[in-house]
């Protein structure tokens, strides 16, 4: 099987000199004899188009007889003995740049799909390669990640499956549920004592109210859509327009506390939070697993708070809304589905939480147990719709990964520097394309990719720069300013 190493290239001579001999040496040591490197070299001085140059390199690789490829950054060098495995992927593409030196030998971020990814010819055809429309730095890798998701080429592990389960649908306009404390005596002041809240829900973005949070947007704002709330200085669980499930609570000094986990909308999610008042420790779980701050995927858990937790008096609890904000405020109504709501009067531990979906709560522990298979006594519903379906609760979808250690060669930072895009508007444009168009299903990726290269570049010739390396020189056509 012949491997094509496909690398986007411009102006990184120092890296080229290191990459060509060292990666060749590594591949030979790994026993891969039949390989060739293809550098997609953009020779014009317009904005650099990594997706297009990677597609060009792949195109020439396949024409040159390669059976599978690895799309590879030029500044990533596999470390000797670091385990990077360049063998042909199985039925899904494989991401191998998992432990990289500039991130302390950790992933860049949770969904990172750059550095080095292996694809078979068939998988390239299915995703149609990269988009050709990402100019300058940013997100063409993430776009490919999403294409894999849409083609079923990611790992999607399931946390659990609940067949034929009832839930309430909230329309985001005027739907809500009120849970009066007088009907559920245990609810009175539960939140200032040790407790556990566990909710199975599915959220929807509401871009008409507030756009999905973009780093490159001058007017960006966080909005927390209320899932479960005790109003006042609101205690509760929300879905936020930055694709996040969150917990907020206050102490008696009116200090705000916040925990969160990244989660796409339209995914059933089991959120559980536990408050241990004796030790002042709060924990946040998603799908039975405690979140951690690794890879920017969540906040640190456990977290400590100071002082006493706030008391709320005889307040009702709410689902899908909070009376704390005006009726026309974007943060007033939640759009989505809620299948289960449980409140316990004690701290559940890890092993209990992971098994929550298949254990019935002990009547001694449970303060509130709502399940919408049938009517629930004691709650007041407004404009909610009862529905029933098979619930699949997925873990976060991720690429298939095989751990490999890579050294990053030195270069100046081009990504996010001090919380802002180093490259400014072009990256902001890419972010909009990815988050607002591609991820919202507005882009037909079969019309933008490796099959559409014709006319997008001018071929200038190929240089044989080493016995196993070719430089494919091109000039782009129609680059934006």
């Amino acid at each position: 099987m012949k491997l094509g190493v496909c690398v986007p290239y411009r102006n990184r001579e120092a890296h080229l000199e290191v990459f060509v001999p060292r990666v060749a040496e590594y591949l030979k040591m790994q026993g891969i004899e039949d390989f060739c490197m293809y550098f997609g070299h953009q020779r014009d001085t317009k904005l650099f188009n990594r997706g297009l140059t990677k597609n060009v390199a792949a195109k020439y690789a396949f024409e040159d007889g390669c059976d599978y490829i690895v799309w590879h950054d030029i500044d990533m060098i596999p470390e000797e003995g670091g385990g990077a495995d360049y063998s042909c992927p199985g039925d899904k593409p494989v991401h191998i740049a998992t432990n990289i030196s500039q991130m302390n030998y950790d992933l860049k971020y949770f969904e990172y799909f750059g550095g080095a990814v292996l694809f078979t010819k068939d998988q390239v055809e299915r995703t149609n390669g990269y988009s050709n429309e990402y100019w300058d730095w940013g997100m063409e890798d993430d776009d490919l990640f999403w294409r894999c998701y849409l083609e079923g080429l990611l790992r999607v592990d399931e946390y659990c499956f609940l067949p034929d389960t009832g839930y309430l649908h909230f329309n985001g306009e005027d739907a809500s549920v009120e849970i009066p404390v007088k009907n559920f005596p245990g609810l009175r002041n539960f939140s200032s004592k040790s407790h556990t809240v566990s909710i199975l829900c599915r959220a929807y973005q509401q871009p008409q109210k507030q756009e999905i949070y973009l780093l490159g947007d001058q007017n960006r704002k966080y909005i927390e859509y209320p899932i479960f709330r005790i109003p006042g200085y609101d205690y509760g669980i929300s879905f936020n327009n930055s694709k996040t499930l969150s917990l907020q609570f206050w102490n008696s000094f009116n200090q705000h506390n916040y925990m969160w986990a990244k989660r796409y909308d339209q995914q059933w999610s089991w959120v559980t939070v536990t408050f241990d008042v004796d030790n002042r420790v709060v924990r946040f779980y998603l799908n039975g697993m405690e979140v951690d701050a690794k890879h920017g995927h969540g906040s640190e858990s456990p977290m400590r708070w100071v002082g006493r937790l706030k008391s709320y008096g005889p307040q009702s609890c709410f689902l899908g809304t909070t009376p704390s904000v005006p009726k026309d405020d974007a943060a007033r109504y939640f759009k989505g589905d809620i299948a289960k709501v449980r409140v316990y009067n004690r701290v559940l531990d890890e092993s209990e939480i992971i098994d929550l979906y298949r254990t019935d709560p002990d009547p001694d522990d449970i303060i509130l147990n709502l399940d919408f298979s049938g009517e629930n006594k004691g709650i007041i519903t407004n404009n909610v719709v009862y529905k029933k379906e098979d619930l699949h609760i997925p873990h976060s979808m991720l690429p298939v990964r095989k751990p490999g250690r890579f050294t990053c060669l030195y270069h100046r930072d081009e990504g996010i520097v001090n919380g802002r895009f180093a490259k400014g508007e072009p990256t902001a444009r890419n972010e909009r394309r990815y988050m607002l168009a591609m991820q919202q299903g507005k882009v037909d990726y079969k019309q933008d990719g490796i099959a559409q290269l014709e006319g997008k570049y001018k071929y200038l010739g190929t240089d044989q720069i080493a016995p196993w390396a070719k430089m494919i020189n091109i000039e782009t056509v129609n680059a934006p300013s």
């Binding site: 001579e13 120092a14 080229l16 000199e17 290191v18 060509v20 001999p21 060749a24 030195y410 240089d463 720069i465 080493a466 016995p467 196993w468 390396a469 430089m471």
Partner: protein
Amino acid sequence: MKLGVIVPYRDRKEHLDRFIPYMKQYFYDEQISDYEIIVVEQMGKKPFNRGSLLNIGFLEAEKLGCDYVVFHDVDMLPVEADYTYTDKVTQIACTFKPEQKISYDYFGGVTLFPSKLFRAIGGYSNRYKGWGYEDNDLLLRCLKKNLPLGSKFFAQPCTCGQALEFTGESYVEFRRPVDFRKSCLIYVDFVVDRLDVDLRKGHDECSIFSIPGLDITLAYTGFGTYKFELFDTYEDVYSIHTEKMPPMHCKALIYYNEPLREFRFYLNGNHVGTKPLREGRRVKVMSNKLYLGVGNPVGTDKKGLVGKVLRFMAVDACTDEIFSRVLEEGISVLDPTETTIWVDTEHYTEGSGTLENLSGNGEDGKVVGCQTAYIPMKLILTVPVPNHREGTFRLQKHEKNGDNQGSWKTWETRMNQALYSRRSQSNDLEEDTDGLVNIENIARWIEEYQEGNVNLVKVKFI
């Protein structure tokens, strides 16, 4: 497959007495039973001729029906080595205890040849007397007959484009360049095409740049090393050498740090070495001129470069900060105005005689006799080398032969070097008149002795 172990021998009785029983035991342990040991002893006082002795041993091996042979030095005892048959010419002695570095093209010590192939290439040349080069010559014979060999890859810089071409007589002169009595940085991107052997001299060398007198110089030497060398005020010499490398495209970075009085030498991104001057010494600077392409433009020994220069940059009164930046990111991170000399051969007009100094802080270079040449991007230089099979050997003690990195030990070795250089450049290996074909004419068999599968042949060369 029958193996013939051929051992060239003279005068090292302790080694031989240990070698034979050791090898017998080794082969027994390795379950190799079909073999002959053939020791070829050179009598008389002529210089030791390893190639001819091995040719004679081969004839014996052929008579004894050996399918393949291993040419085996008597002072090397296998610790872990595989003597089984392969159809490729193979270098087996690769690692030594005590540790000894071998060069990339080493083809001596313990080498394996299928008999048919050794016949086909005509055997060793008989013309190499004394130490050295008979094995390099053998590799040329293998190449000429297209025997399958291995490859060694050398990484080269990715720079390309128009360069200044030097003939060995041509040079570029810079007046008042950098001052080695203060900190300074020199960068040069160059190609060495070849280094000729000049028997009028004791050793060969070509300078890529030089401040003449007691030369402060970057040079490629007859030992195949790239070196940077300077002298101190007491005329002691300081040299930093790379290991043996072929003539090729390189970029060199040299940094002299005055407060620390130490200099560092980097080649193609690798740190070759750092040397401090002795206490109280300074660099001896004997000229206010710097030359590219020669050691000294006047005199008989110009040490002229046959090759090219693509880039040359020098920074006078260089700081640690500038040095680290250049080391980390390359010279493109500097602005020409931060340097003392910055020349770009890309824009040199042939015949103009002036190489413009773009720094604005120094004089232009005067060009004498240089033309221009185009250098394509070639990131990898492929050099054919013998196939390798990893083998570890213990070395028995003996007096060291060969070079001591400054001059050849005996004149014979220098003659060998000249012969090899001539043959390698002309590609006339004279294998139809020199080798197995004429070995019987130049040697006299004195005695033959056989005991079991150990054969001793004593010969004298005419």
